[in-house]
Symmetry: D2
C-alpha cells in the first residue's frame, strides 16, 4: 500500500483520483476539484506541465500551475498528483505535490526516473504508449533502484492499429502485473479510450479485473477544455461513474477509498 | 436478442458458453460438457474443424467431431456452437450445430460469410486478429446482407506489440460496439489473454463493461489438451469463475442466463 | 526458380508483374495490359474475384472476369496471376490462370491453402495484414505439404499504428525470408504504401534489398478505378518506374526478366 | 543540407555515419573509428550516455565518454554525433559533439527538445518506437520553433507485432517525409532490424528509396560488445556494406559523401 497524502492506494481500497487534464485557471481547477470531491474522489489530478505533441499547443502554466494546485488542494483537503517532465523541475514538483506523475511519453526518460527516484514522494508511473509490461516493470525498477519504493503503476492504453478509440486499454496488464509484483496498479480510462462515453464502462471493467483505482479526467465544462475535452467527464458524468462503481467494487470484495 | 437453441444472447441475460478448444474424444467432450453444465454454463463450445497455424498440428476430427458434439449436446441438453472454415462444410455444420462460428482468421473470408449468411442458424462472428472494429461491423454486414440477422459478435483479443499475453483483449470494443449497433457482443477471455490465470479477472471485466456473455475454454485436463491447454480452465477453475461472475453480473443489473 | 507461364521468378531475374487491381471491362484490362507490356512488364495481374471490406463494394466479375483475363493474356502474350477466394472456385481459376494468388485476408484460410496446394499451378501467397513472417512460412508449408512446390511469397505491407500510409511495407521480411528459405519473394509496393507517389521509391528499395520482383497496380485511368485508384500508377508512371528500376536491379547484380 | 562538422547531410550526398553503440574504452572507440574511416565512413557515432531498458544494464561512461569521443574525433578527423538524454547534460554534449542525437525514447521528451533547440549544433532526431510520422515532424517542430534549423531526421524502425526482427524498419517513411519536408533523412538499419545479416540489404534499400545516408553500428568485436552486439557489423562487414552501397547510390543519381 502506497499513500498519497493520507489516501491509500492498494490493499482492499479502491481509490479514485480525478480532476482536469490541465490547470487552466484557478477557478476551473477549484470548481472541478470541489465537484469531484463532492462525488467521492479521494485525490486530485491535474497538469501544470503538459506534454503536447505540437509546440504550438497549450503547454501548461508550470510553476504558477503548481501554486494553484497547492492552494486548491489545501482548500479542498484533496491530496494531488501532477506530472513532471524535466529533471530541472523535479524539486519544485516534489515540494508542492503529494505524488509525482511520470507520464507515458517519459516512461523511458531514464534521467527523469533517476531524479524522481531520489525524492521521497510517491511516484505514479504511467505505461508508455508502446511499452511492453516488462519494460514498465523495468522502468519502475529505476525508481526502486534509486531508493524510492513508493511506486504506483498506471495502465493508460497502448498504441495499436485500432483507430476507433484513441488508445487500446490493455486491462490484461492489470491482473498480469498484480501476479508479478506487489505494486499497486491504477487504470486511466480517459486516455485508455479517448471517448467520454466509454469511460464509465471501462472504469467498471478496471475495478472488476483487480485494479486498485482510477485516474479520471473531469472538467467543469469539457466543451471549452484546452486539452482532452473529448475524453473528460462532466461533473454529472463523474457522479454517475461513482454511483456505478460502488456495486462493482463491492462485488469484487473491495471498498471505495 | 439472438437465441442459440433456447439460450438467449443479449438483453438482460449474461450467457456463458464453455467447453474444450477441440473435440478430441467422445469422453473428453462429454466429461467437459457435463462439468461446465454442472457449474452453470448455458451452452457448449468445441471445435470439429480447427484452424491451425501449422499443417502438422492437430486439425480436428471434422464430421466425426460434429457427430460427437451433436450426441453430447443431446445428452446434456446444452446447445452448441462450432466453427466452420470452408464453404464446402457449411451445410453439414448448419445441420448439426445450434450456432455457427466464424473464426478470427476467417473474419474476412467473404465467400464463407456469404455462405453462412444464407443459412438459418445464428452466427458467432469473431473479430480478426488485426481487424478494426469498423471492419468487424462490415464483416457482420456481409451476413446481414445475405439475409441472416442472427449475428453475435465476439471480441477475442487483437494482435499488438505486447508479448506477455497471447493477444491484447480489447474490451474498449465492447461498449463501443454496443453504442453503434444492437448486435449482442460476447468476449473470449481465453484467446484474449492466452494465460489461464488471467481468464477469471478478464471475464469479470467483460461482464462489468457490458458484454452479453463469455466464450470460455475449459478442458477436463488442460495439461494433455491437444490445443490451447495453457489458456484452458480446469473444471474447478470454471466453477470459481462462475462463482466470481454472479456478483459482478448482478452489480451491473443483469442476470446469468 | 518458379515459372509463371514462361516467366521465371527467382534466380538472377527480377520480374515485374503489373496490371489493374480489378478486371473492370475488357477494354480497361486490354489497354492496361498493353501499356504494361510495352513498358517491360513480364506478366499481368488483375482480380476477377475481389475481397472487399464492405459487401456493398464492387465484388469483381468472377468467371466473366477470368474469361476476359484469359483472352487478354492470349492477345498480349503476358501470362497472368489472379486471386481465388473460395475453394469452390479453385478449379476454375486453376484452369484459366498461369498462377493462382492467395490474398492477404486468406493467408490463413487453411481450407483454401489445401485446395490450391492440390493444383499444379504456381501459387502467389501474400502475407496477411498481421501475419508474422513465421506464420507466412507455415502457410506456405500448407501448400508444400499438399504437394505444390511452386510457391512464391509476397510481402505487401503489414498493419501497424502508422496511418500516414495504408500499410507499413516490411522490407525486413525480404532478406529475412531469403535467408530462411529458397522460395522466391515478390514485393507489392502498391498495397505496401497505398500512395501512388511512394510506389517508385519503394519498388527501388525492394529491388535493392533482394526481392525477386514486384507486383504493381497500374490502371489506364486511376481516377476512375473501381478500387485502389489512389495507389495505382498511371501508364506513364509505370514507364518511369521501369526506367528507374533497371539501374538499381543491375547495381545488385541482377537482370530484368 | 545540414553539416556535421564539414560533412554534408542531404543534397546529392549519401553520407554514412558509423561506429560502436557505446564508448566502452578508448581503444575500442579508436579502433572502430579507424576501421570505419578506412572503409569510407564520413562521420563517427557512439554513445556516452546510454538509454537502457534495465537500470542494471551498462549506462555509458558519461562525460568521460564524451572526452574519449572528442579525442578520437580529433585523431581521425571524423566529426561525431552522440546522444543526450537529460537537459542537464545538453551544454556538455553541445560543446563536445559535432551533432547532438535525440534518441527514439526521448523523441517526445519535450523539455529536452526545447533545450537542444537552443544550442547551435545540428540535431539528429530519431523517430520514436511508436511515433507516427506526423509526430516525428511535430517533434522536429519543437527544435525549429526553438531556433535550431539544423535538423536531421532518422528512421530507425518502429514497434509492431513482428518479433522475427527487433523492429520493423519503416522505409515508407523516407519518401513520405522527403515529400512533406526539406529536412534530410537518415536510416538506421542496425536498430531497424536488430540482426547483423539484414543490415547490408536494408542499407541498400534505404539508399534506393531516397535516404540521405545511414547511421550504422560497427564494433571491432561484436561478440564482446556491452550493448547491441547482435546487430553490430564487424569491420569486414562494414567494408562489404560500403562496397555494396556505392553502385546503388550511383544508380539513384547520388554520390557517397
Amino acid at each position: 500500500v502506497v499513500k498519497i497524502g493520507k489516501v491509500p492506494i492498494g490493499g482492499r481500497a479502491f481509490t479514485v483520483i480525478a480532476g482536469p487534464c490541465a490547470v487552466e485557471t484557478r477557478d476551473q481547477t477549484r470548481n472541478t476539484a470541489e465537484a469531484v470531491k463532492a462525488a467521492g474522489a479521494a485525490a486530485l489530478r491535474a497538469g501544470a506541465y503538459k506534454p503536447r505533441t505540437s509546440p504550438y499547443g497549450f503547454q501548461g502554466h508550470g510553476r504558477e500551475g503548481l501554486a494553484i494546485l497547492k492552494e486548491v488542494s489545501e482548500e479542498t483537503g484533496l491530496p494531488f498528483v501532477t506530472e513532471v517532465m524535466d529533471t530541472a523541475d523535479v524539486d519544485a514538483v516534489a515540494q508542492a505535490a503529494d505524488a509525482i506523475q511520470i507520464g507515458a511519453r517519459n516512461m523511458q526518460n531514464f534521467a527523469l526516473l533517476r531524479a524522481v527516484g531520489q525524492t521521497n514522494k510517491p511516484v505514479l508511473l504511467k505505461r508508455g504508449l508502446s511499452a511492453k509490461i516488462e519494460e514498465l516493470l523495468l522502468a519502475a525498477e529505476y525508481l526502486l533502484a534509486a531508493g524510492n519504493e513508493q511506486v504506483i503503476l498506471c495502465e493508460r492504453g497502448i498504441r495499436t492499429f485500432e483507430t476507433a478509440t484513441r488508445n487500446t486499454l490493455d486491462l490484461n496488464a492489470v491482473p498480469y502485473i498484480k501476479q508479478k509484483t506487489h505494486l499497486p496498479v491504477l487504470v486511466d480510462p480517459s486516455h485508455g479510450t479517448g471517448i467520454r462515453d466509454l469511460v464509465i464502462p471501462m472504469s467498471l471493467a478496471a475495478a472488476a479485473c483487480g485494479a486498485d483505482g482510477l485516474l479520471v479526467e473531469v472538467h467543469e465544462d469539457p466543451a471549452v477544455a484546452l486539452s482532452d475535452g473529448a475524453q473528460s467527464l462532466y461533473p454529472q458524468g463523474f457522479r454517475n461513474l461513482m454511483n456505478s462503481l460502488r456495486p462493482v467494487v463491492e462485488a469484487v470484495g473491495r471498498q471505495m477509498a
